[in-house]
Structures are given as C-alpha cells and as structure tokens.
Amino acid sequence: MTQNIAAIAYLIAGVLFILALRGLSSPETSRRGNLAGMAGMVLAVLTTLYVADVRFSDGLTWGLIGAGIAIGGIMGVVIARRIPMTAMPQLVAAFHSLVGVAAVLVAAAALYTPEAYGIGTQEQIKLSSLIEMSLGVAIGAITFSGSVVAFAKLQGLVSGAPVAFRGQHPLNALLGLVTIGFIVWFCTSQAHTAFWSLTALTIALGVLIIIPIGGADMPVVISMLNSYSGWAAAGIGFTLENTALIITGALVGSSGAILSYIMCKGMNRSFFNVILGGFGGKSEVSGAQVEQRPVKQGNAEDAAFILKNAGSVIVVPGYGMAVAQAQHALREMADMLKKKGVKISYAVHPVAGRMPGHMNVLLAEANIPYDEVFELEEINNQFAQTDVAFVIGANDVTNPAAKNDPSSPIYGMQVLDVEKAHTVLFVKRSLAPGYAGIDNELFYRDNTMMLFGDGKKMVEGIVKLL
C-alpha cells in the first residue's frame, strides 16, 4: 500500500514538473509554473521520507538529512541571491556539474547498499539495474567534468579558445569504445573497481569532449550538458525505479536537446560540426589580407544628434554589451529617447550571448519591458523602415557576408538585416573581427558610423548629450 501511494505521489510530482515547464510559454504564467515546480520538489522529498520510513529514534539519520538540506539550501540561497545576471551561463554550467556528481554518488550508494533501493543485495544486483546504473554513472560523470570545463571557460579561468591536438577524435572514439568495455566489465563482475574505473574514464572523456569547443559555441555546449544531466537523472531514475526521476530526466533531456538544436540552427551549423570543435580558434584571416578600407567614425555627440532626430531605433545587443555591463545605461538612453518621441525596440539574435535567452534576461534586468524585445524572425523585416540600428556588442550576427559571400565561414547563417536601416551606429572597441574571425563589411558601408570605445562609456556619453 505504501508503495502504491508513493508511486502516485511521485507521478503527481512529475506532472507538477511538466507544469513548471509549460508555464514558461509566457512571462505571465512563468512565475506560477515555477511555484508548481517547487511544490513538485517538496512532494517528491516528503514522499521519499515517507517511503524510507526512518524511525523517530534514529537521530543520526535525521541529523544527516537535516544538516544536508540545511547546508546545501543555505549555499543555494546565497548563490541565487548574489549571482550577477551576466554570470548566468557560468552558474548554469556549475549547477549541471552538481547534477552530474549527484548522479555518480547516488549510483555508488546503490552499488554499496543495493538493499536501500530494493534492487538486490551486495554483489547480487539485478542485471537490468546494473545496466541502468552504469549508464547513469557514465553520463553523470561526463556531465560533471564537461560542465566543469565549460564553467572554467565561461568564468575565464582557462582560455575560451578551442584546444585541439592531433589524434583528438580517434582518441575520443577509442575512449568511447573502452567505456562500453568497462560497462560490460562492471555489469558482469559487479566489482567496485570496475565501477570506479568507469567513473574515472568517463570523467576524462567529459573533459576531452568539451575542450575542443570554442567560447562562442558555449550556447550549444551548455544546452548539450543540460540535456546530458537529464539523461543521467533518467538513468538513475530507472535504477531507483522512481517515476518522478524518470519523467524529469526525460523532460530535461529533451529540453536540452531542443535548445542545442535551436542554437545550432541559429549558427547554421550541424550539431556534429559544433561537437567536433575547433571553430573560431585562430583567425584565418592573415594580417596581409585585411585591407585598410576607410570607415566613417563618429563620437558620442554625433550619435546623440542622429538618435535624437530619428523616428525609430532598433537596438541590437550582443555579448559585448554583457561584458561592458552596458544594459542599464542603454535603458537610460532608451528612456530619454522615448520621451523625445522616438520609437525603440530591441532585436535579439538566437545565439547572441553565451547561453540561450541570455540577452533577454540582461535586458529584463535593466527593466526593459519584454514586449519591446523581439526575436529575429519577428523584427527582421522592420529594419528597412527603421531610421537607426544601434548595434552594441554584437558583430557576427549582423554580418551581411552570411547572405552574400558564399566563401564566408558563416555563409547561410540567419543574420539581422541591420544594414537595411537608414543609419547604422556600431559601438565597438576596435575594428577587430568577431569571434568567427571574419571581417564585417558592415563597418565600411556608407550608412554605417563606427563609435569606437567601451560600450558602457559610449552609451553614458550619449545619455549626457541627449
């Protein structure tokens, strides 16, 4: 009877998690959705405590449970309160790694005490459980170390440039085969050595999979690791025969996979192309090839004049805006222009920033209403009727070469048609090419004015003159 009640409770928890994701279809329903998710989590935890049937007299166990949740909870609350929005990609990567470690640890606990999970006794674990467990561990360990590498790259602890060496792909393929061998070894022997060898190997594999992928491909990497963390949870869910965990794993797994797909499509690259890595490492444009073409250069005064006299402005933010922390100054500028009767909207490219939806969060943080922010498809045909396109911190996603230069590495990628606006104001530190290492012909167009300098300082300068 206990088991039946628990199974239904876990199912309800799973449904609440589905509602949490469903809520994200619009900002209005999203907060309610998040509360549903929290309720689902509370239900899952309470159900587990009910099933585990810990005696009231068992002080040690209650102490451990209370202490564990308290320590983790306090750390979680502090992190959630303090983290700046620009650091969200790192935070999500770090959180993914925790899911990965937790999956490995739970699988190890199941191996050492299978009785606790009802999957057999020591050295006598059911084969199906062993297979599920080893898959959970392998994916969990890859998620863990891959996320740590992604975190280090995003946080700037290591260079974001792709690390490539000879024989990289054959080595990974070989390690993949050895992993399968270790899984067979573990499933047939149930040896602890086999389990820990598998863990160590897949941790190494996780590092090797992520190091060749460059900084600006991080949106794909984070989405992919998101997906992995889901599959790892599902694997453990099968071991534990727990419906809530299986449903959640499937949801998260497919969510991450869809986001990876959207990001790859945004860059017009195949998933395998991204995974194999090496893109955007060294600039392929040699110094001699970069022609010294004249550019029209302006200062804050010129920009303020142009913006004041415009009827409509589309702001195109990119990762550079986040780096310069220019979003608040940008909002101020927009507010002043709005008072002067200028219509302001924002155009967000799917791969702008370092994770899916990164720009939207930063703009929201600066109190920019979400109904002024548009996706590429929604706004792209409006550039032609717009007086000023204000590009700040974006580069490759505005490059017309993607449309008219078949030899360009980004040819075919959907880009924002900023050059169709009457005037393009381009805030940038220098003429250096963007991440993809390609020159942007937009800089040299007659209707483009380059505003060289730090994004935040430039915008603040414009605000003073408005």
């Binding site: 589905i18 994701l21 469903r22 994200l24 619009s26 999203s30 689902g40 989590m41 935890v45 049937d53 068992d58 166990t61 451990l64 564990g68 320590i71 750390m75 979680g76 609350v77 992190i79 959630a80 309160r81 959180f95 993914h96 937790a102 640890l105 739970v106 190890a108 606990a109 199941a110 050492y112 005490t113 009785e115 606790a116 999970y117 989405s223 998101n226 963390s229 949870a233 071991t239 809530a244 965990l245 299986i246 449903i247 959640t248 499937a250 949801l251 998260v252 969510s255 869809i258 986001l259 967000v348 994770m355 899916p356 939806g357 939207n360 969060v361 929201a364 109190n367 209403p369 979400y370």
Partner: protein, 108 residues
C-alpha cells in the same frame, strides 16, 4: 496464461519514459525564446529531484540491512549527494524566480 497477465514493470517505466520525452518535446517547443535562460535554470532545479536517491542512501538503516562498513559508505555518499542536490534545488528555483521577477510589461 500467467505470462500474459504479468508484464515486466520495466516495460511500464520505459513507457513512462518515452511518453515523457514526447511531452517534453512539445512543452519545450512552446517555451518562448525570451525565457530560454530561465528554462535552463528551472530544468536544472527539477533534475535535482535526484535528491530522492540521496535521501534513500542516507536513510538506510544499518542494523536492518547489516553489511556494516559498506552501509556507512552509502550513507556518506548519500550525504554528499544530498548537499549538492540541495544547493541545486534551492539555488535553481530561487534564481529562476529572481529572473522571472524581472520580466515586466510596458507601463501604459
């Protein structure tokens, strides 16, 4: 005919799994791109429902199961997993809530 009546419970679980993948597929496609970052942080939080595995490991009763040393190992592993999953649950849900609180409509 007893075999017909008894379906391996694994089949039920795999059915739930496959159906949940489809549910996830359709639900996630309906998420507005503006909320993709909160989507990632909330999926992160909910995947930490792996905490149930950690709780079961911590809650294992040493006397009933026997096995001595290995049970303490499980309890310790479970305890660490419990802390990590809690960080993720509290951190994940709260940071999502914080982000969602920032999305405001135009004031008319």
């Amino acid at each position: 005919m007893a075999e017909i009546a008894q379906i391996d419970p694994f089949i039920f679980r795999i059915s739930i799994f496959v159906l949940a993948i489809f549910v996830g597929y359709y639900v996630v496609w309906s998420v507005t791109p503006a909320l993709h970052t909160p989507l990632m942080s909330v999926t992160n939080a909910i995947s930490s429902v792996i905490i149930v595995g950690a709780l079961l490991a911590v809650a294992v009763n040493m006397k009933e199961v026997g096995g001595g040393g290995t049970v303490s190992v499980s309890k310790a592993l479970g305890f660490v997993a419990l802390i990590l999953a809690s960080v993720n649950i509290f951190g994940g849900f709260l940071v999502t809530q914080r982000m969602l609180g920032m999305y405001k409509k135009k004031q008319k």
